[in-house]
Structures are given as structure tokens and as C-alpha cells.
Symmetry: C2
Subunit: 394 residues, 2 copies
């Protein structure tokens, strides 16, 4: 992997002791100049304090620093939570020598516990001094909770013979069914943009990436994607042809991260794409795909490497979408196991079982009702998911 | 337990070799006279052959026999499945010496495999000869799949100094989120009724019992509740005051069975009641209750005996219901862990953890928004659920 480095950005991480395991749990991303900023946030009606704060601050369209902690979500913490989020932003701004209105915060971890602000404050000054151009990867590590690997990607693009860079880090392994938002993700780029252009570009990239994945159907209270564009490359997003180039690269970047999140789904052993085809409309297609992707019975069968398509049919049937069971086809990769609502027999199932032994495959469901489709990425449900989540706080 | 015996009904079970383990898998319930019949069936758009057949036949309002098998759901089996269901009904009717239009069928088990009709036919004649007044409990055993105990209840009532009896058997442990229906349940009673009265009484009882439970949010393709009323007690449901007495008893009976199903939820270690109070309307209340009850993160925390109310708040917030997080209270039995959207601290959580160590408790969620409520019964999600369901067919 190339070094995770974007001109004009420095970053770093430290251990503030919020996570129990003495691992790094505090990160800062800093832009040397105030950057154009846009964000997408959780649609959960219960929203964490940092989400509430960022949604206000990002209205200015400017940001110079993001402070993020793991180990505590600062959610369901009321007025105190908001004061704590402001205090962290203020302390970081002071340490960095910037206006605290230019500082955004993000948190992930346990819900409902007060944030240990003094622990964070005590490490911020030194952390602020030690930021480096290659420190973004350390931030990716610091925001991990049940993640088993850090998630980071970098891409370079060229436009008009000038080159630009986009890098992003993300976290997320459980409580994943982003809806117009995702778990934490921070994007840094050196293109120039207006908040509106950057916001629209980001929304489109999120729609095709984080909003197409689900691990357990649970939408988090803290989902946050923030993009910072510092303009140092001299390339401007407001030029339409440049916007296209940038959009494509951002789409790829966030899609890669989204797949990494599913792949790292708590206890996951398989990365499974659910494709619904020939639906009457896109909403129905998504509904069928999500119902299949979130069915515990489907997910456990995938873990057991059992082509139990009956459970897929049952999930399709209860998705609340008008359909004719007698026109439904189901494929595991290219193996057709159901044709017109009926199983194609043992030979087909054996072949499908072979597909399921792989760690990445596609389940296609053809409704033969219309021309719309939807694609969702998910993982299986394993005994490890239960083990991780029954003892998460203990 | 009193013997499961209703005047005028005989029943029995046998092993047809459909289940792999040589346990009984075929049952017959027989009314000595044609009985008034009513049914409630799955709302899944994918419906098994026996469901399709019964929905047609029950229109006559009359039934004399129910033949039921476990080990194979006869679902997603197309035209052949329907022919097979008819053939089983016909063979049973012949063996019992009745009109086959008076015979209903039910199946539960694996979806998508052809039913072994000849295996069933080969044991039907002897089974028909061996039916006994106390055989209903054997039927409860024969319809078990992943159930760990047979589910059967009997209640007697009196009206106008005459006594009547209602007994019911049920099965169901996974693929349980009935919706206007449930897994298999057969009710036998000696009251007299019209199909309409019996149907309405049954619907009301189902609404307050099977439609208030969820194990995994998966609605089955085979959910079936059938009630037979043979009139032998001389008591008639069409008398309004009698209808009230009967309704109360049927409600209790089906509610007991519904709780038994949740208690026997695949891998379940806890029976958990989710109560949503002060919601703006009943639909919203049910939606919040079901979202909490089906959240994998909530269910695994319950398994881990961890009062992780943050996951409950997150589920409440994503239920798609307008609410104010800052008015939400959450209780584990009588222990308030969240007041106005915020945690009440470690002492309250410790107390709540003590509640969670029990095997039956209530989680109450007070939205403080209106006057409507809903109550749902569910269970936790354990490693055993995964174990059972990842290898169900192998």
C-alpha cells in the first residue's frame, strides 16, 4: 500500500485510555489551511452529541480539524454530552492553534456513558505536536472498535495534467445498516470545492457505497462521513468535467471501504452480494434485498455453507413487496438453484454449495416483474457475532 | 397435566420416515362428526402447498380431519406440491372413510423438497385405525422440528351449567414472526359454532397471542392455525354471553402456546417481554417493539446478561417512528435504566444486570408521546441459534 498521505493534511493518534486495552483511541486529522467541508450523518432519530454538534458546525462549509475517539460513543448523554463534545473540540482547537468553530468531533464505542474529557484533554497537546503527513493510517487504527483490521484507501487522479489525491479512513464492524450515512469515515483531498459541490459529490458516493451494505440491520447513533477538501492541488471541483473524474474516484474509494466494513462484519466469514433484478421499482428491489440480507435464517445458512434457498424464498415472500412466487429465480453466482419459484434439485444444490464454500459470492434474485434492481452487500451470521456482541461491554 | 382429550375428537401419530431421526412425523386429528372449521394463515407471499389447499377447502366451513407432517414443508414445490398435498388428503380421507373435501393438510420442515407421498401413504391406514381420544399429545410431538418440547394446552369452561373443553397443540421454534398467523396450531373444541363466529373468535385470539411474538423476525411460508368445533357439548358460540366466555378461554390458551413457542425459541435462554408505552398510535408502538425485539445487537446483549440499554435506544431511534429521544424512559422490570433519554448510572445498571440474570423479564420503553402501547414477546439470540440454523439441513 502506498503511504496514506494527502498534500496539506497531517494526522496522528494517541492513547487516552478510553478503550480498556491501552490501544490508541484518539485521533486528529488536521488541514494546514481551512478546508471546504461536507458531511453525511446518521438518520437514526437518536443522535450522538458529536453528530448534533457537527451538523451545526458543518453548515459553515469550513473545517480545519477533526478529533475522533473510540471506546465511547458519547450518545444518549444529553446536555452534558454536548458540553463534552464542545470541550473536546475546544481543547483540540487550542492545542492546534485554530478557531474551535473549525473543529469537528466524532465518537464511536459504547452508548450512554459520559465521555472522559479530562483523559482526552491530557493527551491532546502532545498529540497535536506530533501530527505527521503519514499519520492518517494511525487514525484508521485509533477508530477501530470491534474491527479486526484498519480500513484506509488512497487514490490519485489527474485532471488537466495536474494530479490530485483522495484518501479516506473508516471504521465499522457491527451496528451496520447505514441509511443515508455510515459508520465513521473521513475523506481528505487536495481538490478545491464549494461546500455544495463537495456535499453533493459525497452524497452520491455514499449512496453507492455505505448505503448498500448491512451487517446486522442496526443503524448506529453515530454514523458520520466527513469530507475535507483543502484545494492545494489547484484543481477545482466546480469545473464539470473535473467533477466527473473526482466523483468516479470518490465512488471507488468509498465502495472499497464499504466492502471492507462488510468483510470485517463482526464474526463474518463470507462477503455476500445480494442482487435483486427485474423488480417493479427500485424501492421494492432494495426492500427485498435488505430483507434477504438481514434474515438471520439466511445469514446462518450462509455461515453453514448450506444453499438453503427455501429461506431466501421465505424472506423474499415476507419483504412486503407484491410479487409472484412462481416467477422467482435464484442464483448463487452462476448456479441457478430456483427457477420459477421451484428448486432445481440436488445437483444444482450441490453446485451451489460449492459456491458457498468460497468467501465471496453473489446471490441473485430475479423477480421477473419489471426493470429495476438493487445491490446490497452483507456478510454471514456466525457464532462469533454472538460471542463478540454478548460480551461487548464486559 | 390433565389428559389432552376433547369429547368427540380422536388423534394419533406415527413415523413415516420423513424426519431423519426415526421420530414420529405424521399426525391425524379426527372429529367423529364433521366440525365447524376456521383458519388463519401466513401473510408471506410465498405460501406452501398445504396452505394454498386449506385456504380453498376451509371456505366450506366444515372439516372432519387434519393430516399434518413434519420434516418437509411442501413449500416452493409448485404444481407437484399441490398434487402431493391433495394426494395426502385423499389417502387420509380414504383411510378414515370420509369425504376428502373434509380433510385439511399441514406441513412443516425443510422448504423446497418434494414430499415423500408414498412414505406417508404407507403408514396412513394403520395410523387411521389407531387413533385414540388421548392421542392429541402425540400429534404435538409429531409436529416438532427444532422444538425441544411439545406444546399443548387444555382448558375447560362452563356456560349455563354445561361444561365445554378446548385443547390446542402447536409447534414453532424458529422462522417465527407470525403476522396475522403463526406456525402450526390446531384447536379442538366441543362447542358449536358457525364458521363466521369461530373465525372471528380465532382471529381475535391470534392477534393477542401468536401475533405478539417474534423469535427471529422471519415469517414462515407455512404458518397455519386451524380451529375445529364439533358442537358435542351442546353449547353454542352464537349466544353472545357464551361467546365472551369462550373467547377468554381461547385467548388464554393461545397466549400460553405463544409464550411456549418463544420460550422454546431456537437456542433461547430468556423469555423477554417488550412493552412500549405512551406511543402516538398502536402501529408505531408495535413498530418500536418489533424493532427492539428483532435487533441482533439487543438480543445478543440479553444473552450476555448485559443491560446494554444504548442498543435499545439505538433500535428505538431507527424504528422509523417520529419520537423525541429526550423523553424516552427504559425499564428492566421495575429498574429504570434510562430517564429522559439518558442513562441513570452504574448503580441502576448493576440492578438491571441482576434482572437480566433471570430467565424471564420485561423491558418497558416509555415514549411519553401519547396513550397507545404494544406488547411483544421475544427471546435472546444465542450461539445455539447459529449452531442450530447453520446446520439445519445437514
Amino acid at each position: 500500500m502506498t503511504t496514506l498521505q494527502v498534500p496539506g493534511f497531517i494526522a496522528g493518534a494517541a492513547c487516552a485510555g478510553i478503550k480498556k486495552d491501552k490501544k490508541s483511541d484518539l485521533g486528529i486529522i488536521f488541514s494546514e489551511v481551512p478546508a471546504c467541508a461536507a458531511g453525511v450523518f446518521t438518520t437514526n432519530r437518536v443522535q450522538a452529541a458529536p453528530v448534533l454538534l457537527d451538523k451545526e458546525r458543518i453548515k459553515s462549509g469550513l473545517c480545519q480539524a477533526i478529533v475522533v475517539n473510540s471506546g465511547n460513543a458519547n450518545a444518549c448523554t444529553g446536555a452534558r454530552g454536548l458540553r463534552d463534545a464542545c470541550a473536546v473540540a475546544k481543547a483540540a482547537a487550542d492545542a492546534l492553534g485554530i478557531d474551535d468553530e473549525l473543529t469537528l468531533v466524532a465518537s464511536t464505542g459504547v452508548i450512554g456513558r459520559p465521555l472522559d474529557v479530562s483523559a482526552i484533554k491530557s493527551v491532546l497537546p502532545q498529540l497535536a505536536r506530533e501530527l505527521t503527513p503519514s499519520g492518517l493510517f494511525d487514525v484508521a487504527r485509533a477508530i477501530m472498535t470491534t474491527d479486526t483490521f484498519p480500513k484506509a484507501v488512497l487514490k490519485k487522479g489527474t485532471f488537466d495534467r495536474k494530479s490530485f489525491t483522495v484518501a479516506a479512513v473508516a471504521k465499522g464492524a457491527g451496528m451496520i445498516r447505514p441509511d443515508m450515512a455510515t459508520m465513521l469515515c473521513f475523506v481528505c483531498t487536495d481538490v478545491a470545492a464549494t461546500p455544495e459541490t463537495l456535499g453533493n459529490t459525497l452524497k452520491r458516493a455514499v449512496a453507492g457505497s455505505f448505503n448498500t451494505i448491512t451487517v446486522d440491520g442496526d443503524t448506529s447513533t453515530n454514523d458520520t462521513v466527513i469530507a475535507l477538501a483543502n484545494g492545494l492541488s489547484g484543481i477545482n471541483l466546480t469545473e464539470p468535467s473535473c467533477a466527473g473524474v473526482f466523483q468516479k474516484i470518490l465512488n471507488e474509494l468509498l465502495f472499497t471501504l464499504a466492502l471492507q466494513i462488510v468483510q470485517d462484519g463482526e464474526g463474518a466469514t463470507k462477503l455476500v452480494t445480494i442482487e435483486v433484478r427485474s423488480a417493479p421499482d427500485e424501492k421494492s428491489a432494495r426492500q427485498v434485498a435488505y430483507t434477504v440480507a438481514n434474515s438471520p435464517l439466511v445469514k446462518t445458512a450462509l455461515f453453514g455453507q448450506d444453499a438453503n434457498w427455501g429461506r431466501i424464498m421465505a424472506a423474499v415472500g415476507r419483504a412486503g413487496v407484491p410479487l409472484n412466487p412462481e416467477t422467482v429465480d435464484i442464483f448463487f453466482d452462476n448456479v441457478c438453484v430456483v427457477r420459477d419459484g421451484q428448486g432445481r434439485g440436488n445437483a444444482a444444490e450441490e453446485e451451489a454449495n460449492r459456491v458457498l464454500r468460497g468467501d465471496r459470492f453473489t446471490i441473485s434474485i430475479d423477480l421477473k416483474l419489471g426493470s429495476k434492481g438493487a445491490t446490497i452487500h452483507t456478510c454471514d451470521l456466525s457464532t462469533d457475532y454472538i460471542r463478540i456482541n454478548s460480551h461487548y461491554r464486559t
